[in-house]
Subunit: 313 residues, 2 copies
């Protein structure tokens, strides 16, 4: 299938074309730019939700429950699990997503885990493009789930319309989450495993941090859930819907999306330049040798590469 | 103090100069390039150790114990806690580093947490420069501790000579750690809280993953520790020393450091280009408007910025 056919397939909502397009984003292969150009006009309609939190807090179970409520309301849903290094192949279900398998035959649901080893910008840049593929394919809701709680994962979650941060008792305290930058990006907090001892402390910890933080136009609600018992799921769905209403009414949806787009373009431009710099270092080993011999320091070498590479155009 | 005086102070091992130099790295302010140039020749002597793992696994306690054993062996030690967003000021001890306070008056110890909001490349680029400051100041050992277990934190840990990955029972399973890329960068595994139920499962999980992975020249040992009971600390110290011996004997120390340096320079060059691209987007809003109107897609915009910015040189 050529890229033109792939684009047509994505726009028609063909599942196999969508899967292949995401593989192309994942691998960063030839044709990615043509894919991006071909689908971009048809994006912007989907509501995007980020789900982030430490391993083991129950993000996948929550994603499965959100998916269920969306389907009950007749919305189509795609779940994209960003998995920085795993080599899962197109469309494969992760072992820990057993709960989602009941949706595997539902044409209104698309579930995919994505590794990002090939893409030039890692998951921070592969993720928004994959979301656009799902958006262009017509899914009403796109849920992006990340593994891990580091800076890069926080960025991926922040690159959605509504970032949901999931905490659970015993998974590291709230203050440490705050250090990872999670507090600043959360639109909705979920304290999952509400039936486990210590859940009350986590809720109080988050509320206290929110109280100490700067005043905000939108005050992130703190929702208690217990995914296996289905408790709090409707409240979570309502909180996400309220945040959406706020985004629309305040003009923040457009402002946030524009700002996000510009940051993405800057990052893409930087990632392209990185390839050029690497090629320049490879082509002429003198600079690398001078660096290793400590005659040129890294900051000066970077400046030299900037000048050289620009001059070579 | 001007940068020349700052460099002289760092090279003389003056604590106030070291603290100020790290603040300069943290803020990414004017003078950073001169600092880098001034100290670079005097770096390369320190043994650097990365400590990474989920919040709550006990990294700080382990760092304190490693510090103690180094001091007993008469080595000077610096601990750098990379804290992506916190606004702790120079030299302040973190609340959770109470155990380290006994070393606060020891002139052979320097403890510092570092936020990285100002530096153009975030913690991935601020961290190696801060390590070079400590190296140039004469510390024999530099321990770099990260908060979080995401891709960026993994990169910071990987940018040390010996990366120690800390796990603990109940903090997310080993398979999920593997997904975050931790398996690939670990030179030594620590299963801390060995006295807590489930520690045996974590150890078995890690061993199984190592067994499944590709054959490696260095087989990462798996050490059980209990920091409050001081169990396993000597074994951990020996494992780190053995890894060091392997690095020296195999020629990997030089090869790894050279490769790391080239990646750092590429990243610095890319970060500089990002600033140029952002300035170009800001100076002429046409491109941003076309992006927002979906007439130009992000990949094409990035390519245009690359050509424009290069042409403007």
């Amino acid at each position: 299938m050529d890229v033109e056919g792939l684009v047509a397939g994505v726009l028609a909502g063909d599942r196999r074309a969508v899967a292949r397009a995401i593989s192309l984003v994942e691998d960063g292969g030839a044709g990615l730019e043509a894919l991006s150009a071909g689908i971009y006009q048809r994006t912007g309609r989907a509501a995007t939700i980020g789900l982030t939190g430490a391993p083991g807090v129950g993000k996948s179970s929550l994603a499965a429950q959100l998916l269920r409520t969306d389907r009950e309301a007749d919305r189509t849903v795609a779940v994209l699990a960003i998995d920085p290094t795993s080599p899962y192949t197109g469309g494969a279900l992760l072992g820990d997503r057993v709960r989602m398998q009941e949706h595997a035959t539902d044409p209104g649901v698309f579930i995919r885990s994505m590794a990002t080893r090939g893409h030039l910008g890692g998951m921070a840049l592969a993720s928004p493009e994959a979301v656009r593929v799902l958006d262009a394919a017509g899914y009403d809701v796109v849920i992006v789930e990340t593994v891990g709680v580091g800076q890069a994962e926080v960025e991926v979650a922040a690159a959605t319309d509504t970032a949901v941060v999931v905490l659970a008792p015993g998974m590291g305290d709230a203050v440490q989450m705050a250090k990872a930058g999670i507090l600043e990006i959360a639109d909705v907090f979920v304290v999952n495993k509400a039936d486990v001892a210590g859940a009350g402390d986590v809720i109080r910890g988050v509320r206290q941090m929110l109280h100490l933080g700067a005043a905000r136009e939108w005050n992130p609600p703190v929702i208690s859930t217990s995914a296996p018992r289905l408790e709090g799921i409707d409240e979570l769905r309502s909180a996400i819907a309220e945040h959406r209403t706020y985004l629309d009414a305040s003009g923040q949806l457009r402002a946030k999306r524009r700002a996000r787009l510009l940051r993405e373009v800057e990052s893409l431009a930087a990632a392209r330049f990185r390839l050029r710099a690497a090629a320049a270092l490879e082509a002429d080993r003198t600079l690398a040798d001078e660096l290793e011999a400590r005659r040129i320091d890294p900051y000066r070498a970077a400046a030299m590469l900037g000048d050289e590479t620009a001059a070579a155009e």
